[in-house]
């Protein structure tokens, strides 16, 4: 689950919304396909775009360690959004693309946004082999099987090129790739690749640092992902020292909707029930006039997991057109680990 989709939906919404009002996502989308439970997700076909759906994204977050011994995080995201159900070629294409990229250290959080229209080859997704691109940013697989890949983005103050090597299977989130977002049936198709090892270089303000670490790729497509009363969400992707991976989210509404998947080191997936998951904000950071919970206590009762997550840089604010918080976190408590946290709608 990834909030940038929602940021995108908001940005492109014909309805007047303000940045904090994420409720519009509950609006029905006529003319677009709806995610269906049991619809198979196939590889490599589903790496490509799904134009029948209103929106989707390709994204990768990486927890990195530099040669300087410091921790870093990198984010790469490409959003696709259909402005309307009818479509055409050239400038008649009704697809909008938006790229977000960021590099985070304990002291810096630098980000960039870029936008493109579909139809003229300024942005798009080729497959197979998979290659998502916008301007000079790209996220590409070396082969159809995606055994390895490369990621590149740059902004005014930063840039990175990261090589990815896959060491595990693609993972279907939710119920075999059908991920519910609310009690009323809002859902998306959702798969991840949490087994990337990363090797590359990040540059911040002209200083180039060699980095290695772990990456997590998320793919999701849908046409309507939030219930009308939902205002935003908190989403976690965690690499635990045991080799397990964990994806958890909650959508904040009249009643919180919680969900998650436990991913074993071999890629076996177990869906977690909402009541099994406990989220407890511990500390808040004040950013741009909002209070964001940057330290959390998170429990998965069935797994005896009781952890505290702390942000590498509590000021990991994505001040893009529709702003949100996204940054690397460290895990302590019943187990240790690292991961990424995303928060929207604050």
């Amino acid at each position: 689950m990834n909030a940038r989709l929602f940021a995108l939906l908001l940005t492109l919404s014909p309805v007047a919304v303000n940045a904090a009002d994420y409720g519009w996502l509950g609006e029905a989308a006529s003319g677009f396909a709806t995610p269906k439970p049991g619809a198979p997700i196939l590889f490599p076909q589903d790496h490509a775009a799904h134009p029948g759906f209103r929106t989707e994204w390709w994204y990768l977050t990486a927890n990195l360690t530099g040669d300087d011994g410091k921790s870093y995080g990198a984010q790469w995201t490409l959003f696709r959004y259909s402005l309307e159900a009818r479509d055409g070629s050239g400038w008649d294409n009704r697809t909008a693309w938006m790229g977000h990229a960021a590099v985070t250290s304990a002291t810096e959080h630098v980000f960039a946004q870029t936008m493109a229209r579909g139809g003229v080859n300024q942005a798009g997704v080729d497959n197979p082999p998979f290659r998502a691109f916008i301007d000079d940013w790209f996220f590409e697989a070396r082969d159809a099987q995606f055994t390895a890949g490369r990621l590149h983005a740059r902004g005014a103050r930063f840039g990175y090129t990261l090589d990815l090597t896959r060491s595990g299977p693609f993972v279907l989130q939710g119920d075999k790739g059908y991920s519910r977002k609310a009690g009323e049936g809002q859902a998306s198709h959702y798969y991840s690749q949490p087994f990337f090892s990363v090797d590359g270089a990040v540059t911040i303000d002209g200083q180039k640092i060699h980095v290695t670490g772990r990456g997590w790729m998320d793919r999701e497509w849908s046409s309507q992902t939030m219930a009308p009363d939902q205002k935003g969400w908190d989403w976690f992707s965690l690499h635990l020292t045991s080799g397990d991976r964990l994806m958890l989210f909650r959508l904040r509404g009249a009643q919180d909707y919680r969900s998650g998947n436990w991913i074993a080191p071999d890629g076996g997936v177990t869906q977690l029930a909402g009541e099994d998951i406990v989220f407890e904000p511990l500390d808040h950071t004040s950013l741009e006039g909002r209070a964001l919970p940057t330290r959390w206590r998170v429990k998965v009762k069935s797994r005896n997991l009781d952890i505290v997550t702390s942000a590498l840089n509590p000021k990991s604010w994505m001040g893009t057109d529709f702003p949100y918080w996204e940054g690397p976190i460290a895990v302590s408590g019943s187990t240790r680990g690292e991961g990424y946290l995303e928060m929207t709608g604050y």
Partner: protein, 821 residues
């Protein structure tokens, strides 16, 4: 406070008794303010439009990329640059006819459009949604929507039959432009896959090397400051307008001064009485200042409204000429701001205060105890004339000095203003002298009285006559310049536009094919490529154009000065023809050498000749065609003229259009070019002529006002003559005759003064302002018209006061003796 109130009431009684005096005062002030603020409104409007146009694509800081050879370029270059990481946004500009109006159609891409250029409100997702869903949206400034005669929400239909998306008002849109999505623009303009420019995100700077690598010299960078040329190039145009505005204000100011002067003289007894009653000089002056402020607000307010009306009436001509001369689009809907209103009121207040200053000063220094006696006008007037003569001489000295030393536009206008003022101030002296001569030559008592009394009347009329003189002289001066310009310009156009057809190919490739085709056409006598490039000499934009060796040029191209073998030199040596403007700027004569910046280098050239280039705000250089192509790698290969046999023009044009369609971007014949050029010039001077006429009308009003105010006073002078036995009719005739003589005197002096003004305009102002010198033409017929106009103005102005005299009841006249003052 109470005292001031009573004083005010006492002062106001004068205006009740003399409503004509009040009317002239208010009218004068209102007219002066109206003319001045009208011109200011035009200038402000134009400047705002330049800013809006320049900011639309640059925001004052963003680079733009355009085709190196001019014209359009492929959209693939946009994608290539984006994919290379350069943040550029595509633009396609073109013009579309909607009904009877032409609009500039601008295609933008909202998602990539930078957020800090003038079109920023259209950048981003919200507008993308509006522009790209359903029927989409078009944006235009509210004034543009009005000008186009459509309503917001309507879908304008272009002449090409394309229905634009529904219009939405957007105040930030540049004047005269309709903004649509790039895809819509490409369809509406029938330019699929083509762009006219790209905007570079302001936080990114592209250097020439990067651009060359990325696009293989197809594009060229336009730095943001280059676009501001428009403001600089049009400066002289606006200074001209301002100068005329100021002149008009001056004439209006004369009226105000005259009215105030009269009011003060007439109120002198009241003032003395008030002082004698114990009103302090301070309180009296305070009351008069309050009175003055009230007039300022009243008349200034009326003036502001009048100024708005004048500006609104002249705006279409001003914008047409600015567009024609400089390609500057001016918003057709006048916008007003508080600053403009305040500055107009300040001008009115300043003018009123200045006009009333002498009265206020005299009031403040009024000796309380001196007996209220009738004004010994003779003494007073003699002193007054002496002072005026001193001022006149000073003014003329300033004019001579400015003419000798100044070579700036301000200097030129100083020469004109100072000489006008000097001669105007001398006018009463000159008339006085004329009347003295008349008096000396007179045989009969009545004619002696006619002249003697005339001398006295001048005292009251001098300001109005000065205003008339100024207006007449300006009329002759400016009229002469404009007529001369028209004469020269039309003759020059005939020489310059010899080729029958002018066209611009869509691309250099198309141009080659058209050239090949034209070579085979039997009715085409010569194909003359007029390739062009741009450079800058110093900070001045210069057009560089090619010429092939052909009799079209050697036999017809007008030259001001040239070396003896100019054409051989041009084609066989490193030589150039230089436009008069540029030659003047660089102080070049035939035979001199200069350095011309070329693509990445500099080229030393000799001046083979200098040619007039009227109306071009930029410098221009003509080079041999082959040499141009060698030194300017970026020379556009798309501009051509054709020589056609006999009457084949229409047939050849039709064949060209049928064969090449959209591959010919523009094509016009000679008659069309001439028509367009002449129209531009006519409209340019419509404004000048209008202001000129207004000034003349104002001066006639001044004369009328003065005569009306005087007519009461005149009774006292005429009554004794009537008592001796001269009939009222005879007196009225003499009175009218005197007015006509005065006007004739003013007109006679106005002729040489006007000629001098023409000379100063042609020889100083035009040269500095536009960089060219016109041959001076003289139009005696025009002088006769002006003389007649002056007589008619005087006749009309004098009619009412003279009729009043003719019909004055004997009792009125007798009262003069009873109410001994």
């Amino acid at each position: 406070m109470r005292q001031i109130c009573w004083t005010l009431a006492a002062l106001a009684s004068h205006w009740r008794k003399h409503p004509a005096n009040l009317a002239t005062l208010i009218l004068g002030l209102a007219i002066a303010t109206a003319l001045w603020s009208g011109v200011q409104a035009l200038n402000t409007q134009a400047r705002r439009s330049y800013d809006s146009a320049a900011n639309a694509f640059t925001g004052g800081k963003a680079q733009n990329l355009v085709a190196a050879q001019g014209g359009l370029f492929a959209q693939d270059l946009f994608v290539a640059l984006r994919r290379a990481g350069l943040k550029v946004s595509p633009i396609l500009e073109g013009s579309a006819r909607i009904g009877k109006k032409t609009a500039k159609l601008i295609g933008i891409e909202p998602l990539t459009l930078p957020r800090d250029v003038g079109l920023a409100p259209l950048a981003g997702n919200r507008s993308a949604t509006g522009m790209l869903t359903g029927d989409g949206l078009s944006y235009a400034a509210p004034g543009t929507i009005r000008d186009l005669g459509v309503l917001a929400g309507e879908r304008p239909l272009t002449d090409a039959g394309f229905k634009l998306p529904p219009l939405v008002a957007l105040s930030e849109a540049p004047p005269g432009a309709i903004i649509v999505d790039i895809g819509v623009a490409q369809k509406a303009l029938n330019r699929p896959g083509r762009l006219s420019r790209m905007i570079v995100a302001p936080d990114m700077r592209i250097d020439a090397t990067t651009l060359t690598e990325a696009t293989d010299r197809a594009l060229r960078i336009v730095e943001p400051e280059e676009d501001s040329d428009l403001a600089r190039l049009t400066d002289s145009f606006h200074l001209n307008l301002t100068a005329f505005g100021l002149l008009a204000f001056l004439v209006g100011f004369f009226i105000v001064h005259a009215s105030f002067g009269l009011a003060f003289e007439q109120r002198l007894p009241v003032l003395r009485t008030l002082r004698a009653l114990g009103v302090s000089a301070r309180a009296l002056v305070a009351a008069m200042v309050i009175e003055l402020s009230a007039f300022t607000l009243l008349a200034g307010g009326a003036g502001v409204i009048g100024g708005y009306l004048i500006a609104a009436a002249l705006l279409p001509d001003v914008s047409a000429s600015l567009e024609g001369l400089y390609g500057a689009q001016i918003s057709g809907a006048l916008t007003l701001d508080a600053r403009w209103i305040i500055s107009a009121l300040a001008m009115a207040g300043g003018g009123a205060l200045f006009a009333g200053a002498s009265g206020l000063l005299k009031t403040f220094n009024l000796p309380v105890l001196s007996v209220a006696r009738p004004i010994a006008w003779r003494e007073a007037h003699r002193r007054y004339l002496a002072r005026q003569a001193t001022f006149a001489l000073l003014s003329l000295m300033v004019a001579v000095l400015a003419g000798y030393f100044a070579d700036t536009l301000e200097g030129g206008f100083t020469v004109i203003a100072a000489s006008l003022l000097g001669v105007a101030l001398l006018l009463p002296l000159a008339l006085e002298a004329l009347l003295r001569i008349g008096e000396a030559l007179s045989k009969t008592p009545l004619s002696r009285w006619f002249f003697a009394d005339g001398r006295q009347e001048i005292a009251g009329l001098s300001l109005a006559l000065m205003a008339l003189l100024l207006a007449l002289a300006t009329n002759i001066g400016v009229g002469g310049m404009v007529e001369g310009f028209r004469h020269t310009f039309i003759g020059w156009l005939d020489q310059r536009l010899v080729a029958e057809i002018y066209y611009e190919a869509a691309t250099p490739h198309d141009a080659r094919e058209i050239e090949d085709w034209a070579r085979k056409d039997k009715e085409i006598v010569a194909i003359l490529p007029v390739w062009r490039s741009k450079t800058r000499i110093g900070d001045w934009p210069v057009e560089v154009m090619g010429m092939t060796p052909h009799t079209t040029y050697s036999e017809h191209f007008p030259l001001n000065a040239a070396t003896p073998d100019v054409w051989r030199m041009l084609h066989e040596e490193d030589a150039a023809l230089v436009s008069e403007q540029l030659a003047r700027r660089l102080k070049l004569s035939p035979g001199d050498s200069f350095d011309l910046p070329t693509t990445g280098d500099s080229w030393r050239l000799r001046v083979a000749g200098i040619f007039p280039d009227y109306g071009n705000p930029k410098g221009q250089i003509r080079l041999d065609h082959t040499r141009l192509a060698q030194h300017f790698a970026d020379a556009s290969g798309i501009h051509y003229s054709l020589r056609v046999a006999g009457d084949a023009t229409t047939r050849v044009m039709t064949r060209l259009q049928e064969t090449f369609g959209a591959r010919i971007a523009r094509i016009v014949d000679q008659a069309e070019v001439k028509k367009i050029s002449t129209e531009i010039f006519e409209r340019t001077f419509t404004v000048t002529t209008a202001l000129n006429t207004l000034t003349l009308v104002v001066s006639a009003i001044a004369l009328f006002a003065s005569l009306l105010t005087l007519s009461n006073l005149r009774l006292a002078h005429v009554a004794p003559v009537w008592a001796i036995g001269v009939t009222r009719d005879r007196l009225a005739t003499l009175e009218m005759l005197r007015i006509l003589v005065f006007a004739a005197g003013a007109a006679l002096i106005a002729i040489p003064l006007g000629l001098f003004m023409t000379w100063a305009l042609v020889d100083i102002v035009n040269v500095v302002a536009f960089g060219w010198r016109l041959p001076m033409h003289i139009f005696p017929q025009h002088w006769l018209t002006v003389f007649a106009t002056a007589q008619v103005a005087a006749l009309v102005a004098g009619l009412v006061p003279v009729r009043r005299l003719a019909r004055a009841a004997p009792a009125e006249l007798l009262k003069v003796f009873a109410n001994e003052r």
